[in-house]
């Protein structure tokens, strides 16, 4: 398992590169690799911009039927998300963007979970399986 810090813009680039390497190693198609790297980019940016920095843990996983995949978790100890349902809505934004980061990332992967606590931080875990 790799743990990468997310403290600056070039850390987001490193997370993308490492996610691509692990997704490729899990035998994912180029399209699935691109989707999971894009989702990782969105979530790493959220960790940096909204969470005030944190870390990403990247691992190759295998499901019960022996299918390989990639799981990435992003953790920060930022302010947390007050309304998760709202934050996962297309078009909802606090950052002046288009509000597609979190909701878009969720669409691009197979499993997605978000835990957050006011004042304690946010953890997002996403998994994508090779097809």
């Amino acid at each position: 398992m790799d743990e990468l810090p997310i403290r600056a813009g070039d850390d987001v680039v490193r997370v993308r590169q490492q996610v691509r390497a692990v997704a490729g190693g899990a035998g994912m198609s180029l399209i699935d690799q691109t989707k999971v790297v894009t989702a990782a980019s969105e979530l790493a940016r959220n960790t940096l911009v909204h969470g005030g920095g944190g870390a990403a843990r990247i691992e190759q996983v295998t499901n019960a039927r022996g299918k390989p995949g990639i799981r990435v978790s992003f953790a920060d100890s930022g302010p947390g998300i007050p309304d998760v349902d709202l934050a996962l809505t297309d078009g909802w934004t606090t950052g002046g963007g288009m509000g597609l980061g979190l909701s878009g990332a969720r669409r691009l992967v197979d499993e997605f979970s978000l835990t957050t606590e006011a004042g304690a931080g946010t953890t997002v875990v996403m998994t994508k399986w090779a097809r």
Binding site: G9, L30, I31, E42, R45, L108
Partner: protein, 117 residues
């Protein structure tokens, strides 16, 4: 931070993105394109993303903004060379690149621009 070079060919600016873009580099590119259009009076901007492996919502928004901003300087922006996997991901992400036209490759992009220069 790596800076994306901007080449000028006739009345067209050519931007070929060859690095893994961090957010600051894309933001810088937006400013650089604006300054170059203002300084040169370029009528068209071609952004070649053949080497770009992912376009996420931030990078997509910046590309879109470069297009909208160029129009204010009476220049037209064409995005060329998008990889199929990037296109599929953009659609699933829900991103529409308003403000830019697209063409399959640089040659077709130049042809699109030549109608107006």
């Amino acid at each position: 931070m790596e800076r994306v070079p901007i080449l000028k060919i006739g009345s067209t600016l050519l931007v070929s993105i060859q690095v893994d873009l961090q957010d600051q580099s894309v933001q810088q590119l937006q400013e650089d394109v604006a300054e170059r259009i203002a300084a040169t009076g370029a009528k068209g901007v071609i952004i070649d993303i053949t080497a770009v492996e992912i376009v996420d919502s931030f990078i997509g928004r910046m590309l879109s903004m470069i297009g909208s901003m160029s129009r204010l300087f009476d220049a037209q922006t064409v995005l060329v060379g998008m990889r199929p996997a990037v296109a599929i991901t953009l659609v699933e992400l829900g991103l529409t690149l308003d403000g830019v036209q697209t063409a399959l490759n640089t040659e077709k992009g130049l042809r699109l621009l030549s109608g107006r220069s």
